[in-house]
């Protein structure tokens, strides 16, 4: 018996030694991401977790710094040749297989993006403005557009450049296996285990600043509580999307450091403008059907907004992980409107406005919302419902899973419903065009305008901004349009979420407005 036992422990010991001596611990960083990466192909699925991962391996022509401002990446500079022609000057960079990056790769990428097979959410929305490209020399490319299109550099900030050596129509599977996962980014792809982890290694031929970590393990820990536990146990160095319920205890915990920044993701209530009469979930105080949809009355919309104590929601429901807002963008962003503060909490004025609009006895409203999508989504609508009770609006709450909710919201089945919008581009035209502009399938406007709000004056300003190439002049028009729209209360804005990361003590992370968790941004504290 004894010899077997001894050899067994010997085996276990040797295994344990292999385990620890394999990698120098200090050189490895484990990142816990909150959602699964669905593909290594950077053009397959426009999904935040995919982009957060792909920023390690691939680069775009234009990148964003931590504050969300555009900075040169693979492009050194860009300028307008004429109204419809952009010229991009490219930098010297190398792909992970050693081949140099040239204008040929940009043209190849733009051609490949719309041709990815079975893509459920194509990146072609960012490349469709380009009608043709023209390689001038290896470091210069001209991009032609149909009409003047000031957002092209912004859009190209989402398009990862891949090597033209991959040949015609590279398959998504070959990216997942690693064969085609070749970029110019600071990290090389090593392996991908779906739903589990991605392993990366520092690319020594990178043109920019060398990242601190030699190896990066990108783990997908979707359960909030386990993600926090993994950090506390020291199994990962950094976690993203720290759940607000854990914030109070983590703020006091000496083992971790928090990094937070206000994001460009706002949470708001849509108000139904699509029904002239009989909006589904709003009735008179005794349940009687109303002849006219009361949400079409500006006074009612404003009253509902004034009845909400935003500071209270931020403090109690969000545990401080948000700031009140009345617009889509965070202060300091391009085209943020300074004279558009969040609506004050004023229940008296709200009651007066309701009476003035012909509803002295209030209304009966059901708020719909998801319960598994945004931070504390169901709790937020419960809080709003209680606040509305105080001005005589009898409010009930109906929360449901996102997969059911989102289809119904898109079919105008709700009257008052919670949604969020993250402005990836970091400027105001994006929410104006997608959310506020009149729903117009032929022009591709108002695509996310689920309340079907329509304001011709705002539409005109949006068109005007789209044709204005000068940044300063365009910013003024966007601000004017946003102010005009938001004063009309098409949606009731609640708050802007904060992005929160937690790192092990001894590590610091530069918090990013754009939500990505990047190994390049994690450093050892000095």
């Amino acid at each position: 018996m004894m010899p077997t036992f001894r050899s067994l422990t010997g085996l276990m010991l040797s295994l344990a030694i292999c385990q620890t001596s394999g990698v120098a611990r200090a050189q490895t960083l484990s990142i816990a991401s909150s959602a699964p990466v669905t593909s290594i192909d950077p053009h397959y699925h426009t999904l935040a977790p995919n982009e957060s991962f792909s920023a390690h391996v691939y680069e775009r022509l234009v990148a964003r710094d931590a504050s969300g401002a555009m900075i040169p990446a693979l492009a050194l500079s860009w300028k307008l040749r004429d109204e419809k022609t952009w010229e991009f000057k490219l930098r010297d960079a190398k792909f992970h297989d050693g081949t140099p990056f040239t204008a040929e790769d940009v043209a190849y990428t733009l051609n490949r993006v719309p041709r990815v097979k079975n893509s459920p959410a194509s990146y072609s929305i960012y490349t469709k403005a380009v009608t043709s490209s023209e390689v001038v020399d290896p470091h210069t490319i001209l991009l032609h557009t149909d009409t003047a299109y000031p957002l092209l550099p912004t859009d190209l900030g989402s398009v990862a450049i891949i090597s033209h050596k991959l040949g015609a129509d590279p398959a998504t599977e070959d990216f997942n296996s690693g064969k085609n996962a070749i970029g110019t980014g600071p990290y090389r792809f090593i392996s991908y285990k779906p739903g589990d982890r991605i392993e990366l290694e520092r690319f020594d031929g990178y043109w920019g600043e060398k990242p601190h970590w030699k190896q990066v393990i990108y783990r997908m820990l979707t359960n909030d509580a386990s993600r926090t536990a993994a950090l506390l146990a020291g199994d990962v160095g950094i976690i993203e999307f720290v759940p607000p319920t854990d914030l109070p205890s983590l703020r006091k915990d000496a083992r971790v450091t928090l990094a937070e920044v206000v994001s460009n993701r706002s949470i708001f209530l849509w108000l139904d403008h699509s029904h002239e009469a009989g909006t589904p979930n709003v009735t008179g105080p005794n349940g009687e059907v109303l002849e006219k949809n009361p949400l079409l009355d500006h006074r009612v919309r404003l009253a509902l907004s004034l009845a909400i104590n935003r500071a209270g929601i931020v403090d109690r429901v969000m545990e401080g992980a948000a700031i009140p807002t009345d617009q889509y963008l965070r202060p300091g962003s391009f085209s943020y409107v300074p004279d558009l503060p969040p609506h004050p909490y004023d229940p008296e004025k709200a009651k007066a406005l309701l009476a003035e609009a012909g509803f002295p006895k209030g209304l009966k409203v059901t708020i719909n919302g998801p319960n598994d999508r945004y931070v504390n989504d169901a709790k937020i609508i419960q809080a709003v419902a209680q606040m509305w009770q105080r001005i005589g609006v009898q409010t009930t709450v109906e929360a449901m899973p996102w997969n059911n909710y989102v289809s119904r919201a898109g079919k105008q089945e709700f009257s008052v419903f919670l949604l969020g919008w993250g402005v990836g581009s970091g400027e105001g035209l994006n929410p104006l065009r997608a959310q506020i502009a009149t729903w117009n399938p032929t022009r591709g406007l108002g695509t996310a305008n689920r309340g079907r709000y329509s304001n011709p004056a705002v539409d005109t300003l949006i068109d005007q901004a789209m044709g204005t190439m000068d940044d300063g002049a365009r910013e003024k028009i966007i601000q004017k349009a946003m102010k005009l729209a938001m004063d009309d209360v098409p949606v009731i804005q609640l708050h802007l979420q904060k992005n929160i990361w937690a790192t092990r003590k001894g590590l610091v992370y530069e918090p990013r407005v754009t939500e990505e968790t990047l190994a390049m941004g994690v450093r050892e504290a000095k």
């Binding site: 593909s39 194509s122 997969n403």
Partner: protein, 324 residues
């Protein structure tokens, strides 16, 4: 025997078919996967294009007919989310779930049977009573809570075990298994214990009840009177008789442990099939949902078959019935 097997297979086919219909109708009623997957910035034309490319613009009966046609040709469709064949995705995740579930069922045998035996032989002793009281906890505590407590104690406070995830794997028969490495075993211990708690309690209670029932029976008394050693009476005569219900239940439990390990998998970030199916349901990834459920139905049918055969091995009476 042959007619019996054919009847079984026929039933199985019918169950699989009924299940696919339910999934198709169910997913259709819940919502449209494109609304969930598509970029919110995509325009209306792009949305229509994607719906058409996934075949979701067709009437439901036609989508189902296409599915049946492909399924008969061995193709269960490609995942909307991953753009990989659904079966390949499931096969990729299966080893992780299998090794976890089998370890958990082994634990429940290893701990459940001896503890139950002890509690049955010494029902009034302090230890016997403690075992029974403990088994109530095993039944009633929700497994996500127990899982988090295990992590808090053994990973966060004591630092003995890794908190989450699957450890290093070693390839055997072309499949990566983590139970072959020390690191893998360390990662597997907590999730396996968490998954087995319920089954340990179940087996323990079954064993105890069986022992209590069998001990006063004539054949046991006879064996004792014959002068057999107590060990032989307990381990051969008593234990063999009480194993039939235990094997039945464990067989069925193996199936449900594999199929519904989802809570444990998501608490411990274990990259198995349970996590895949939950993620797929969240985004209405129909091909994966259908393929997964088909596989689970087949699994249950196979397990039932194996259990029936094991009966015959364990119980001579069943063998005789079949023959006559």
């Amino acid at each position: 025997m042959i007619t019996w097997t054919i009847r079984r297979l026929f039933q199985a086919c019918f169950v699989v078919l009924a299940m696919t219909v339910i999934v198709f109708v169910g997913v259709h009623v819940i919502g449209n996967p494109v609304d969930i997957l598509i970029s919110p910035e995509a325009d209306q034309a792009e949305r229509a294009r994607i719906i058409a490319s996934m075949g979701l613009d067709q009437p439901l009966w036609r989508q189902y007919a296409y599915f049946l046609y492909d399924a008969l040709h061995g193709n269960l469709g490609r995942s909307f989310v991953f753009n990989e064949p659904a079966l390949k995705l499931i096969a990729q995740r299966m080893p992780a779930t299998l090794e976890l579930a089998i370890t958990a069922v082994l634990f429940s045998m290893l701990f459940g049977v001896p503890l139950g035996l002890y509690a049955g032989l010494k029902p009034d002793g302090l230890f016997g009573r403690t075992i029974m009281a403990g088994s109530i906890l095993g039944f009633s505590l929700p497994s996500f809570w127990v899982g988090l407590m295990l992590i808090m104690v053994f990973a966060v406070q004591l630092g003995w075990l890794p908190s989450t995830g699957r450890g290093q794997t070693e390839t055997l028969f072309g499949v990566p298994w983590s139970f072959l490495t020390w690191d893998g075993l360390r990662h597997m211990l907590m999730p396996a214990v968490n998954l087995s708690l319920f089954n340990i309690s179940l087996v323990l209670r079954l064993t105890r009840a069986g022992v209590r029932e069998t001990l006063p029976m004539d054949f046991v008394k006879f064996a004792r009177a014959k002068g057999l050693s107590p060990q032989r009476v307990i381990f051969v005569h008593v234990l063999k008789n009480i194993m039939i219900p235990v094997v039945t239940v464990l067989g069925l439990e193996l199936g449900s442990t594999i199929a519904f390990a989802v809570v444990t998998e998501s608490v411990f970030a274990w990259p198995g099939m349970g996590k895949l199916i939950i993620d797929s349901i969240n985004v209405l990834d129909r091909p994966v949902i259908v393929a997964y459920l088909m596989m689970i139905v087949l699994l249950f049918i196979t397990i039932n078959l194996v259990v029936d055969i094991l009966y015959m091995v364990l119980d001579p009476r069943v063998r005789l019935e079949r023959k006559s």
